[in-house]
């Protein structure tokens, strides 16, 4: 049971049930602030840049990227893994914290889930775009067909990937959407304009708030949550097998699945932190996303950061312990020292060392520091993926094949484009969807009072 005495109240400001509804729905009724419009313009510009880059890629070919005969995957896969990682947080939040009965998740999980949906959507663009013949992408779908029938290669991690990501995306979207039904109904009921009423009416899916509705709602959440819990672990494990199944030094590692899942949760939580600080600040949600919320996330980040550090150390240790000259080269002469030193140490510092600052309560409760460090973690996680994808391929077995890889404007464009799409998604989420789960917030209001035993 949640102990308010120990953990402090979850919602501050002496809010009543009515207050909660009003506060959370307020942004939907207010006029969008100036910064929202500016950000919207910016995100549209970024998306346009991305769309141009995608057009060039599809119409001209992957040749417009910087990848080559040795480094077949570049920014596309780095960013794919990065986004998938970020896309981990929402479901992880909802599921794991639910399982762990962490009541404080209620004010955060909605935004985190939204983030998941947009991030996974952004991520899913990359595997499609990096295909040489995207128009034949449907070959990867296993279905009885007139081509033989030709089946997919069930041994291939890329097929697992396809299955895992599409399942994850589907479940995440469902989980997020069905979780919003009562809230949509609340907006519908409070709507003043006709359009709002009908749009939210449709979105609310005929929610009446009856006991039966709640019962179905609860059981659906339970089922989807159960599936999602598995997927959270599987999706990034499977992304990890894209690398682990290969024979390339630095990829061929059994530690990858757990290491990837933890890394994903790490980057996801960092992104949640970034986002929640912004939401809290921009919409004055200090009473809901309290300092203690951020404090809790920061504590989790310390813990995960320690796992990350252990992961890095283990990788390096095993490379040495295996005595395999190629592994040794990749880690010691390529990453730790050598051509990609910067990338390696940037990864270690950003992911394993900087989050250790959260041991200090002062830093943990300093919003600016939290915000900056959360960004640093996400940069660090990007470097981690760069390290994995590029450094192993650029200098692998035969030195005759060693190359340098540099992204082109088109590759950067696609990345910027996905950032644009992500921001756009978040902005629309902020404007049109209740950012917190109203019904659940109401459910934890009771913990604000001193409990008697």
């Amino acid at each position: 049971m949640y102990k308010t005495k120990i953990r402090g109240p979850l919602i501050l400001g002496g809010k009543t049930l009515r207050n909660i509804s009003e506060d959370v729905i307020a942004p939907i009724y207010q006029k969008a602030p100036l910064w929202w419009w500016i950000m919207l313009g910016l995100s549209l510009l970024m998306s346009a840049f991305g769309l141009w880059a995608m057009y060039v890629t599809i119409s001209t070919g992957i040749g417009t990227w910087g990848v080559n005969n040795s480094v077949g995957w570049g920014w596309a896969i780095i960013n794919f893994v990065w986004w998938i990682g970020i896309g981990h947080a929402g479901t992880a939040f909802s599921i794991f914290l639910l399982v762990l009965r962490q009541k404080w998740r209620t004010s955060i999980n909605r935004a985190a889930e939204a983030m998941t949906v947009f991030a996974v959507g952004a991520a899913a663009l990359f595997p499609a775009l990096h295909m040489g013949r995207i128009w034949l992408a449907f070959y990867i779908i296993p279905y009885p067909n007139t081509r033989g029938p030709l089946w997919v290669n069930f041994n291939s991690p890329l097929f697992w990937d396809f299955a895992a990501i599409s399942a994850y995306l589907l479940i995440s979207v469902s989980f997020w959407y069905f979780g919003m039904l009562p809230d949509f109904a609340t907006i519908r009921d409070r709507a003043t304009s006709k359009i709002k009423k009908s749009v939210y009416g449709i979105l609310a899916f005929g929610w009446k708030g009856s006991i039966r509705d709640w019962k179905n709602y609860e059981s659906l959440a339970f089922i989807l949550g159960g599936i999602a819990a598995v997927l959270v672990v599987s999706v990034h494990s499977i992304v990890a097998t894209d690398f682990a199944v290969s024979v390339i030094p630095g990829w061929h590692t059994t530690i990858f699945p757990p290491y990837f899942v933890v890394g994903a949760i790490f980057s996801g939580f960092a992104m949640v932190l970034t986002l929640m600080i912004l939401i809290r600040k921009l919409y004055n949600f200090e009473n809901y996303v309290t300092d203690s919320h951020l404090n809790a996330i920061a504590k989790i980040l310390i813990f995960i950061s320690l796992i990350m550090g252990t992961g890095y150390a283990t990788e390096v240790f095993i490379a040495w312990y295996s005595g395999n000259e190629f592994e040794m080269f990749t880690f010691f002469h390529n990453r730790i020292t050598g051509e990609y030193t910067f990338m390696f140490w940037a990864m270690v510092v950003c992911n394993a060392l900087v989050p250790q600052l959260f041991w200090s309560k002062k830093i943990r409760s300093n919003l600016t520091a939290l915000f900056i460090i959360s960004i640093i973690i996400n940069i660090g996680m990007w470097y981690e993926r760069f390290n994995i994808v590029v450094t192993s391929l650029a200098n692998d077995y035969l030195p005759a094949n060693w190359v340098n890889y540099e992204p082109t404007l088109v590759e950067v464009g696609i990345y910027v484009g996905t950032l644009g799409i992500f921001i756009l998604g978040i902005l629309l989420f902020m404007k049109f969807v209740p950012m917190m789960a109203i019904s659940e917030l109401k459910g934890i209001l009771k913990f604000n009072k001193e409990q008697k035993h």
């Binding site: 001209t60 070919g61 992957i62 040749g63 910087g66 990848v67 080559n68 005969n69 040795s70 480094v71 077949g72 995957w73 595997p127 990096h130 295909m131 040489g132 013949r133 995207i134 034949l136 992408a137 070959y139 990867i140 030709l150 089946w151 997919v152 290669n153 041994n155 291939s156 991690p157 890329l158 097929f159 990937d161 396809f162 894209d242 199944v245 290969s246 024979v247 390339i248 000259e325 190629f326 080269f329 391929l393 200098n395 692998d396 077995y397 035969l398 030195p399 005759a400 094949n401 060693w402 190359v403 340098n404």
Partner: protein
């Protein structure tokens, strides 16, 4: 009464209206059926309207979008007797471009030549070719670079117009006894020489001048002095146990590389228990292909070459009691070299690539002392590949400038580009009344000629060749002339008043001059047909060994002086790909990486690493050498104080591929005492601070201590045949058990063995593969982006220090792993293993995830980053209709976005399997030869069935030298390598 058959109960009961109903329904068209009875009865409904709409729209969509353009393949109405559509015919022919000779077989598919193979009946090349020979097929289809009709003053004309005009002018010159000069490259065709003689008979004032862009004047004149014969001898590198070469790149570019490569590798093979091989010591400035293969390579400056040779001569002469001369002392002590040579008298060979008569006289003297004449050097069968004497060309230019030459008829020469004083030549050309160029392709000189009377491409021509005494090779056309061209000999004869078919002329010449010597009772026409079929004829005729005289030796020795030149010594060399630049407009050659520097699409200044580092130069930084701005390549092994630059680049008037690529350095070569030198001392060098990115196909040059190219020395090898290859034993010991079932190969199991001891890294295989498998050319930008498409590449590693540099070549193609990492990662199963051990690629299925590329430890897979066919961005051979004719119809042209790689030439395997099946016999070992294997001049590659215990590959696999590349990964490659063995001589100390 017969049985009653019925289809339905209605029929059974013979209901009357059933037939009527049937015919009714027949009348209904598909659309009506779609609507159903109910709908038909009703007048019209919204439902029907929608149905109609849907049908119309979808059929319109299908009709308009799904239709592919109809390309017509028109079958033969009457099939030519000798041709089966879809089956290739091979015709023997001859390649000679004025620089290099090779007897070839040309593969002809449906009336067009598509591939050149070496003629295995040629005793000198045994089926080997070089990159130049392989790529010459493309110049046939070079629609942009070739002349399509006669030209007059750079305007289109016709034979009808130009022939009478030329004839009249020549007659007029003949009247006044004016000088007519026929300027050609070396001509080795006896019949062509006959046609020249006929021409000169008609025009008595006509002269014939032979001009070679890169000549052997030095050797020709030296042999004139020493033997009173102005010839090049035949060499027998296979007979030599000790080879000492001074700057002669005999494996790459010198005289007859394909022939020498075969000889050289023959005496270096260590199969079947043989444990002796030749020892090769190379003294040179720039790292040549030959130098890279030497057992010991000593970098020296070109100015030291004479001194080293003279000292070598002195040591040997003193030992043998001959006169020695007073010469400057050498930097490198030649005592050991001399002793080695002396111990192998008659089984040694000293050669020099210098064009200096004195040096060649010294070389002659050394070889004479060593008793090599008649053994490793054969003057009785001289080689005619290079006949040009530089001074004759200089005299011609002088006479032209003096206005003495009235008519200049040129064939296969390009002095406006490759004559050292090209400006002087062009000036002279303007003073000649009648200038005719008879080249088949555009060049700088033909642009300046009044008339261009284009020659056929050699694959459209009849001809013959006498590359060396007693050895004939015939040339026959493989395709009807693509353009309105005419064989140059025919033109000459026409202007000499003989309108004759050149084939008749050729046959007549053979009947009178060659046939009687050989044929016995056989009729000429049957003998001719047989000889033509074989393509080669070795009469064995020799001219006898001439006597040696020491004439000129003292003079030669006295001419050897220590050079006091300041500055750099510049070395000019022919690159393996472009040679003297005649085939520069050939995209395959432009893209072929230099075997040593691995640079394509440019010539560059190869500089010593130490100097480069002192100056802070990086690859691609531009320096000014003798006034030319060139990007540098820090070349390990480059002699101190020297810079090497390749000829053949910087063309300006030859076509879209070559124009503007690299710099022309011909203008910088010194012309002294009637000889063009390939070195220039005292050259000013300055750093410009500019930079350009070189198109390097390999940027890392060290093996990083990995046992990629396994190498040992002959001494070690004699003690233990597994020397240098113990890792393989270790591997075999540790990889016995596997959790997985080993794949079975019930029929064939193809394998390929690369003998690293034979491979010289000449890169012929790369072009052979490119020609066979329709491998696209990607251009300089994409090579820089490391996206070169070659299915087989030759990796080159350096070892040792930056002066005493070891070079290691290793051809790498798809290893066809039986445990292939690429196969299990493809999500759509586009790449899979065949039951014959081939790693196959289904292009149709590939969606281009590139995972296989990443997961290939050998990185042999290639991706189609762009559309390389009929794309103006890639304006090479595959961007015009004529160029596309060179494509091999048996191999798919790959689409953008798919992965491709070596297939072991699966089309050849299938072809031979079918052939054997039709003939009802099992496939023989050696029947199937992939393109790389077939044309390898060194016979370094062996292909065959690993399941057949008697096949050559099965035997080689058991060799102690055999290993798999990266075998520790347990990929079980079907391509295996044999360790390289170097016959390391003891150190040569500096004095």
């Amino acid at each position: 009464m017969s049985k009653k058959y019925w289809q339905s109960l209605e029929q059974y009961h013979e209901e009357p209206d059933i037939d009527q109903h049937k015919s009714e329904s027949k009348q209904k068209n598909d659309l009506m059926e779609l609507m159903g009875d109910e709908a038909l009865q009703k007048k019209s409904s919204r439902r029907n309207f929608l149905k109609f709409c849907g049908f119309t729209v979808s059929s319109a969509a299908i009709a308009s979008s799904c239709e592919n353009p109809v390309k017509k393949a028109i079958p033969f109405l009457n099939r030519p007797a000798e041709m089966t559509p879809g089956e290739a015919d091979f015709y023997a022919s001859t390649f000679f471009d004025g620089n290099e000779f090779c007897s070839i077989l040309v593969k002809n598919r449906d009336g067009r030549p598509i591939k050149i193979e070496g003629n295995d009946l040629s005793p000198f090349t045994k089926g080997g070719t070089t990159a130049n020979v392989q790529s010459s097929i493309l110049s046939l289809y070079d629609s942009g670079g070739r002349y399509k009709q006669p030209m007059k003053e750079d305007k289109r004309s016709s034979w009808k117009q130009v022939d009478p005009e030329i004839k009249d002018k020549l007659e007029a010159i003949k009247e006044k006894d004016g000088e007519i000069v026929l300027l050609t490259s070396s001509i080795i065709s006896p019949t062509a020489k006959q046609s020249i003689a006929d021409f000169r008979k008609y025009y008595p004032s006509a002269k014939h001048v032979t001009y070679d862009a890169v000549s052997q004047t030095g050797m020709l004149r030296a042999n004139k002095r020493s033997f009173n014969k102005q010839v090049i001898p035949s060499y027998h590198f296979d007979q030599a146990d000790v080879i000492v070469s001074f700057g002669a790149d005999f494996l790459g570019t010198w005289i007859s590389p394909a022939e020498f490569t075969l000889q050289y590798s023959k005496n270096r093979k260590l199969n079947a228990g043989k444990d002796t091989m030749s020892q090769h010591i190379q003294f040179e400035a720039g790292m040549s292909l030959t130098g890279s293969n030497a057992d010991r390579r000593i970098p020296i400056k070109p100015s030291e070459e004479g001194i080293q040779l003279a000292n070598l001569y002195n040591i040997i002469a003193r030992k043998m009691g001959e006169t020695s001369f007073n010469v400057p002392s050498a930097r490198i002590n030649m005592k050991n070299v001399a002793a080695k040579l002396m111990n192998n008298r008659g089984r040694s060979l000293v050669v020099s690539g210098s064009n200096d008569v004195n040096i060649q006289v010294l070389v002659n003297a050394i070889n004479q002392l060593l008793g090599n004449y008649g053994k490793t050097i054969d003057l009785s069968r001289p080689v005619y590949i290079k006949q040009g004497i530089d001074s004759e060309m200089r005299d011609l230019v002088n006479r032209m400038n003096q206005g003495k030459v009235e008519a200049l008829i040129m064939h296969n020469v390009n002095p406006a580009y490759d004559y050292p004083d090209a400006g002087e030549f062009s000036k002279g050309l303007n003073k000649v009344d009648l200038t005719i160029h008879m080249g088949h392709a555009k060049n700088e000189t033909s642009k300046k000629a009044t008339y261009v009377c284009p020659d056929n491409h050699y694959l459209e021509s009849w001809g013959d060749a006498l590359p060396k005494e007693g050895f004939y090779s015939l040339q026959q056309p493989l395709i009807r002339k693509l353009y309105t061209t005419r064989q140059w000999q025919e033109s000459l004869l026409k202007w000499a008043g003989k309108s004759i078919n050149y084939l008749d002329y050729l046959k007549k010449h053979w009947e009178t001059n060659i046939y009687p010597n050989k044929a016995g009772l056989e009729s000429f026409s049957s003998w001719w047909n047989k000889t033509l079929q074989k393509g080669v004829l070795d009469t064995g005729k020799d001219n006898g060994q001439p006597d040696y005289t020491t004439r000129g030796l003292r003079q030669a020795a006295n001419s050897i002086k220590k050079s006091n030149n300041k500055g750099f010594e510049l070395v000019f060399y022919e690159s393996v790909a472009l040679r003297d630049g005649k085939q520069a407009n050939n995209p395959w050659l432009q893209e072929l990486p230099d075997p040593i520097a691995k640079i394509s699409w440019d010539n560059f200044a190869a500089i010593p690493v130490q100097w480069g580092e002192e100056k802070g130069l990086k690859n691609g930084d531009i320096i000014k050498v003798d006034g030319i701005e060139l990007p540098v390549f820090l070349q390990p092994g480059q002699a101190k104080g020297t810079i090497a630059v390749a000829y053949g680049y910087g063309r300006s008037e030859t076509g879209k591929v070559a124009d503007g690529v690299g710099k022309n350095v011909f203008a910088h070569i010194p012309f002294q005492s009637g000889i063009r030198y390939n070195t220039k001392p005292g050259v000013e060098v300055s750093v410009t601070g500019k930079h350009m990115e070189l198109a390097l196909s390999q940027t890392h040059h060290s093996m990083e201590g990995r046992d990629i190219v396994r190498e040992t020395t002959l001494d070690e090898y004699k003690k233990d045949h597994a020397a240098g290859n113990h890792a393989h034993e270790e591997f075999v010991k540790h990889h016995k058990e596997s959790l997985y079932k080993k794949q079975e190969f019930p029929g064939h199991h193809w394998g390929l063995i690369v003998d690293l001891n034979s491979c010289i890294g000449c890169s012929n295989c790369m072009v052979a593969c490119q020609a066979e498998n329709n491998v696209p050319v990607v251009g300089k930008e994409q090579v820089k982006n490391r996206r070169i498409m070659h299915w087989i590449r030759v990796d080159r590693y350096f070892s040792g220090d930056t002066e005493d540099t070891g070079t290691h070549h290793q051809p790498v193609m798809c290893q066809h792993c039986d445990n292939a990492p690429c196969e299990n990662v493809c999500p759509v199963a586009a790449t899979m293993h065949s039951d014959e051990g081939l790693n196959q690629m289904a292009y149709n299925r590939c969606i281009g995830t590139k995972y296989c590329i990443n997961n290939c430890p050998y990185k042999v897979r290639r991706f189609n980053w762009y559309r390389y066919v009929t794309n103006n961005e890639f304006d090479y051979n595959m961007n015009d209709e004529v160029g596309l004719m060179a494509l091999n119809p048996d191999v798919t042209v790959r689409e953008r976005g798919v992965v491709e790689k070596c297939t072991f030439c699966v089309q050849r395997i299938q072809e031979k399997k079918l052939q054997a099946k039709k003939e009802g016999r099992p496939l023989k070992d050696g029947d199937v030869q992939p393109a790389c294997v077939q044309s390898c001049p060194a016979k370094a590659l062996t292909f065959g069935d690993l399941n057949d215990p008697d096949s050559e590959v099965s035997k080689l696999v058991k060799d102690k030298r055999n290993y798999g590349l990266l075998e520790q990964l347990h990929t079980l490659p079907s391509v295996n390598y044999l360790t390289k063995v170097r016959n390391k001589p003891e150190e040569l100390e500096e004095v």
